[in-house]
Amino acid sequence: MKIKDGFVLREVAGQTVVIGVGALSEQFHGMIRLNDTGAEIWKGLSRGDAPETIAEHLTKTYDVDADRALADVQAFVTDARSHGFLDEA
C-alpha cells in the first residue's frame, strides 16, 4: 500500500500542498492541503511505510500515544483510499 505516483508535495506559505500531475492531474484537479501530521502520514505512505511504522514515528514527534497515533493513521488511510490516492499492491 502506497500513495500513487504522480502527486507532488510542496510547502507553500507554510502549508503543505499536494497536487496531481501527469495522468493523475486529469483525475484530480485542485489540491490537497495537509496539516503537519497529515503531511507526515502522507510522506510515510508515499514511501510505502506500513501504518504501524508511520504511527511509531508520530509518537516520537508528537505528544500522542501509540494507540491513538495508529488510529489516526488508519483513519487517514481510509480517507486516502476512498479518494483513490492509494496503490494497494
Binding site: I19, V21, T37, D79, A80
Partner: protein, 356 residues
C-alpha cells in the same frame, strides 16, 4: 496603458517580426504532414526575458506577438534565457480552432504557443498568473479575482482617475518572475480580449484579491488565507512533476515576499482610493484631481465573445482544510480533501463588465 497599447495589436512591429521569422532561425519544420503545403516558419520573441522560438504557419500569427518579436541575430537575443523552442502542435491548433472557429487559425496558433510556453516558464523561475497588473511609480500592482468580478474594470478605473501615471503591465496573464532581489510582474503577449499589455518587467509591490462589495474596504491578508484562491490563478505544468513542483516553490516565494491584500470594492472613485492608498502608501489626492474621471477609459472592440482558451487551466475551489496540528485532527483534514478535490470547474467565461 498608453493609447497604443489599449488599441489593436500594434501594427508597426509586425514587419520586424516577420523578418525575424524568415531569416535567422526561420526554416521549414520537419514532420509536416504529407500533402500539406503550409510552410512552417519560426518567429523569435522575448517573453519576460526568455527567448521563445515559436513555429507558425499563418502569416497573421506574428502580429499577436508584435511587441515581443526580436531579431534572433542580435547580441541581446543571446543574453536572454532559453530558448524555449515551441514545435508546431497541430493537435493544439486544431483543438483551439474547433472550440473558437470564429477567431481564426492565427489566433489558434498564438493560443497553442501560450500553452507550450507557460509550461516551460517555471524552468526559468517564472510562472503565468491570471490577473491584471498595472504599474505606478516604478512598482507593479496585481489584481486577481474570478472572471466577471471586475479586475479589468478596477484597473481601468485606476487609469481613469490617476491618468498616465498608471500604465498597464498585462491585463490578463502577467508572468511572475522570481529573483533574489525582487519579484517582478512581466508583460506577455497573452493579455485577454482587451489586449492590454506592455513588454516590461516591473518589481511587484502587492497582490490584491478583489471582491465585489457595497463598501470599499481593504486589509492585508496572510498567505495561508488565500492559498486556495491563488492556486486558481497560477498556471501549473501538470504534465511534468519537476516543473509542477518548481511552480509551487515559486508561488511560495511570491506569497511570502510580496504583500497580499483583500479588497472589497464597488466601481467608484472611492474604490480606487481604497486600493491605491493601501497598496502604494501614497495619498490618492496628491495624484488626482477631485473631479470626475479625466482620462476616458479606452475600450477596444472585442473580436469574439468566446471564452479565452488561454485561461489558466487549473481551478480549485475555495474550500480548505483547517490548520489543525494534532494527529487527532487528521481525519477532519482529509475529510476536507474531498471538497477540495472535487472542484475544478473552469469558471472563466467572458468578462463583459470590463471597460464600460
Amino acid at each position: 496603458m498608453s493609447e497604443k497599447n489599449m488599441n489593436d495589436v500594434a501594427q508597426d512591429g509586425v514587419s520586424g517580426l516577420h523578418e525575424a521569422a524568415q531569416s535567422g532561425i526561420g526554416h521549414a519544420a520537419a514532420g509536416q504532414p504529407a500533402g500539406e503545403s503550409a510552410r512552417t516558419l519560426v518567429l523569435a520573441c522575448n517573453v519576460a526575458g526568455v527567448a521563445c522560438e515559436v513555429s507558425f504557419r499563418q502569416s497573421d500569427t506574428p502580429r499577436f506577438f508584435a511587441d515581443y518579436l526580436t531579431d534572433p541575430r542580435a547580441a541581446e537575443y543571446r543574453q536572454l534565457l532559453g530558448p524555449v523552442r515551441v514545435p508546431y502542435r497541430q493537435d493544439l491548433v486544431d483543438a483551439c480552432l474547433k472550440e473558437f472557429p470564429e477567431n481564426g487559425p492565427a489566433y489558434a496558433e498564438w493560443s497553442a504557443a501560450y500553452a507550450e510556453i507557460s509550461n516551460e516558464m517555471p524552468r526559468y523561475n517564472r510562472f503565468v498568473f491570471h490577473g491584471a497588473a498595472v504599474e505606478f511609480n516604478g512598482k507593479a500592482y496585481l489584481f486577481t479575482a474570478p472572471s466577471g468580478t471586475g479586475k479589468s474594470t478596477h484597473i481601468a478605473l485606476w487609469r481613469s482617475y490617476l491618468g498616465e501615471r498608471v500604465d498597464i503591465v498585462n491585463g490578463d496573464k502577467p508572468i511572475i518572475r522570481v529573483e533574489d532581489d525582487a519579484v517582478y510582474a512581466c508583460g506577455s503577449p497573452w493579455s485577454g480580449k482587451e489586449q492590454w499589455q506592455r513588454p516590461v518587467q516591473v518589481p511587484l509591490g502587492g497582490v490584491c484579491f478583489l471582491r465585489r462589495g457595497v463598501e470599499n474596504t481593504i486589509r492585508r491578508v496572510r498567505p495561508d488565507e488565500y492559498i486556495n484562491a491563488i492556486m486558481n490563478c497560477i498556471f501549473i505544468p501538470t504534465q511534468d512533476s519537476a516543473l509542477a513542483g518548481r511552480a509551487l516553490e515559486l508561488l511560495d516565494q511570491l506569497l511570502t515576499r510580496v504583500p497580499l491584500y483583500e479588497l472589497h470594492c464597488d466601481m467608484s472613485r472611492d474604490a480606487v482610493r481604497t486600493s491605491f492608498e493601501a497598496m502604494t502608501g501614497k495619498g490618492f489626492d496628491d495624484y488626482t484631481l477631485p473631479d470626475e474621471p479625466k482620462t476616458p477609459v479606452a475600450t477596444r472592440q472585442k473580436t469574439s465573445d468566446a471564452a479565452d482558451p488561454t485561461d489558466v487551466q487549473r481551478a480549485a475551489d475555495a474550500a480548505g482544510a483547517g490548520d489543525a496540528a494534532s494527529p487527532a485532527n487528521t481525519a477532519d483534514d482529509t475529510a476536507n480533501v474531498s471538497e477540495t478535490m472535487s472542484a475544478i470547474a473552469a469558471t472563466d467565461a467572458t468578462e463583459n463588465e470590463a471597460a464600460k
